[in-house]
Amino acid sequence: MSDQALAYQPITRLAQLIQRKELSPVTLTRFYLDRIEELEPQLNAHITIMAESALAEAKAAEEEIHRGQYRGPLHGIPMGMKDQFWTKGVNTTWGSRIYRDFIPAEDATVVRRLREAGAVLIAKHNQAEFAMGGTRVHPYGTPRNPWDPQRIPGHSSSGSAVAVAAAMCAAALGEDTGGSGRIPAAACGIVAIRPTFGRISRHGTMPVSWSMDSASPMSLTVEDCAIVLQAVAGHDLLDPLSSPSLALDYRQGLHDGVRGMRAGAIKELLPPDSADQGVRQAFQESIRTLESLGMTVGEVSVPLITLAAPIFVAICDTDAAGVQFDNIRLRPMDYDSSTRTRLMSASLVSASIYTRAQRARTLFRRQMEDALRKVDILLSPMSGGPPPLIEEENVYFQSKEDVIRRQFGARSFTTPYSLAAMPAITIPCGVTANGNMPMGLQIGGGPFEEATVLRAAAAFESATQWHTRHPKL
């Protein structure tokens, strides 16, 4: 297979070739390393490139496979991960200059599980500082959207989304606290899932919010996403909040279709008339596509979803301020100004606000559960429009109203599943009105219903071609 043909091959195809010994993991790893060398100067998707160790791992994988010890679909597959996950002996910066020289003594559980599955770990990806989103000056360069380098690729697992969308790895592991996996995935035209909280161990994941952080598999296709989720999911004694339930086989039944499945478009998140016309059109067409596959689609209401963003900010930012409090007091100028002002503001939030936000979260979760008693999955767009231009994103807030408009509105789509501890996936479903930027359809489900949301996403993907569009680089 030619180098050109290797780009954008899904893991399912690459794994077939590797298992049949028609493709060498070393060749594949070299291919992605060459892509990184070529594209990194324009995209800034990486913080650490692990070329030497990756080639050694690829060689070891190849030898194992030749000895007949094939481990499964990730064996010999080059993957990258957000620089938020501990990697033994390799810098883990958290996207911050404060952690520039931090070298973990062990792997995060998710990293260990990827290694056990035989994945070749090729690079640590660039990200928003401390996974907080909104970074103005990235310490390791500004990640750029491969569809339009003048636009952000979404926060905060930005580098991971860029790397997958630009074929600089076969798949990636991002992290999603309030949308940090799904938002960049949608902005870059790829797939990402945020599983149920507790489905994936947090051990070795540098924290933002202890009750919402979750690793987020990111990939070109839904089945690839299921493969990566399968590898990293499951109970872990090192994370006291990890669910003891067994992870399912997420590929089983993946292609069974959606006939008879019931979906509810969340009324409060339907694109208003003022939304980007591309978003409105793509969402309506997505519903028609799912209906044509035998799904029943209606509307459901989750009234508190309109306040999900302030509930989320009151909890998440306060948790993050707790994590960062010593550093933000002792070395504030080592933070990007956006992260610093966000953390300083959150440091002032009172216990009564935090507690009230958690009460609201409980009530919100009940409303999500009520909605999911009527339907199997929930549907919404991933955003109201294209990702902002980098220069717009970097403008300082001018007023309280400016913060509300820019910071709270965008969070309404993704934070609901974080607050409710429920799974959600984004898949490419169209383009924005300017005809260029990809947009995502979000499919959510009840707790531990990852298999259901994956099945619905796989059905949609099989009926559309959006996942086959790639940026011209």
Binding site: S243, T355, T362, L363, P447, F448
Partner: protein
């Protein structure tokens, strides 16, 4: 149950930069002069948005961060 629930008061959402500086001072947090306006905008924005919850009855809901089916128990 909260038999005599006190009347809810809105959180102030128009604090001045000097108010914010004093709040921070109580936490030994020194807000750089260049950041003070933005920190004030951010804090007031959260309070203003959060006050929209005042009309929602929350006292009967426990402040849960982890739900029973995640972490600690199989679904």
């Amino acid at each position: 149950m909260m038999p005599n629930r006190p009347q809810r008061a809105a959180y102030p959402s128009d604090l001045s930069p000097e108010d914010i500086r004093r709040l921070a001072h109580g936490l030994a947090l020194q807000i750089p002069d260049d950041d003070l306006a933005v920190v004030t905008y951010r804090f007031n924005a959260l309070m203003e948005e959060f006050n929209k919850l005042l009309s929602v009855e929350l006292d009967e809901a426990d402040p849960l961060a982890i739900f029973h089916d995640a972490g600690g128990r199989a679904p």
